[in-house]
Amino acid sequence: MKILYFAWLKSKVGIGEEAVTPPAEVATVGALLDWLATRGPKHAAALANRSIVRVAVNQEYAGLDHPVKTGDEVALFPPVTGG
């Protein structure tokens, strides 16, 4: 599974992209965020306030219940501010 981080999430985690292999029971966006937060203090800090973290699975916005699986591209970022 490919994880992408944008904006301040990238700054806080310290990387823009990483390949991860979560355990089989991590089957939803919510479970994935919980699991990612355990990967280290930077991850934990970046994911501390879930209310300002948005998620896209395979380039589509996804809620916490959305399924994730091997091979997915999952992006984590703050609410968008373009235009």
């Binding site: 992408l4 904006a7 609410p79």
Partner: protein, 155 residues
């Protein structure tokens, strides 16, 4: 037409392209977004626009398709820049062409309102206190919410 690019664009040429070779367009509405030197009262030196390559183009194409679905448009255009931009520089151009001015005006407002809340761009501003990621604004959500129910005002 969707363009996501680092370089500036030629507004006159882009708008002319929308109606080139046709004589059935009644009106072209457009909106240009620019970098301001102030934000939330603080002075801003410049900004860097980050985006999510791939998803950006996909979302902009969806937003454009939604406008085409809601209004009788003959042409539409979204150009959005990324990278470092100085105050006064153009960030975005949206434009729509229609036989009827109401459709052009409304769909143009729709494009910029939806783009603001749905396209994956993030602004990093250079301020006296250092670089600051711009926070999303409730007013932008409200503006997008205006369009949550499809509507179409007759010309």
């Amino acid at each position: 037409m969707i363009k996501v690019q680092r370089e500036d664009f030629d507004v006159g040429a882009e708008l002319a392209q929308l109606t080139a070779g046709r004589t059935d367009v009644g009106g072209v509405a457009s909106f240009i977004g620019l970098v301001r030197d102030v934000a939330e009262g603080a002075t801003v030196g410049a900004m860097t626009l980050e985006h999510y390559p791939g998803m950006t183009e996909k979302k902009l194409a969806e937003i454009e398709a939604e406008a085409q679905r809601r209004w009788p448009l003959q042409a539409s255009l979204i150009i959005h820049r990324y990278g470092r931009l100085e105050p006064g520089e153009r960030i975005v151009l949206v434009a729509t062409a229609s036989p009827h001015r109401r459709a052009a005006l409304e769909s143009c407002a729709f494009l910029i309102d939806w783009l603001k809340t749905k396209a994956p761009f993030w602004k990093l501003e250079e301020t006296a206190a250092g670089p600051q990621w711009v926070a999303a604004r409730d007013s932008d959500d409200d503006a997008a919410e205006r369009w949550s129910k499809p509507r179409r005002v007759a010309e």
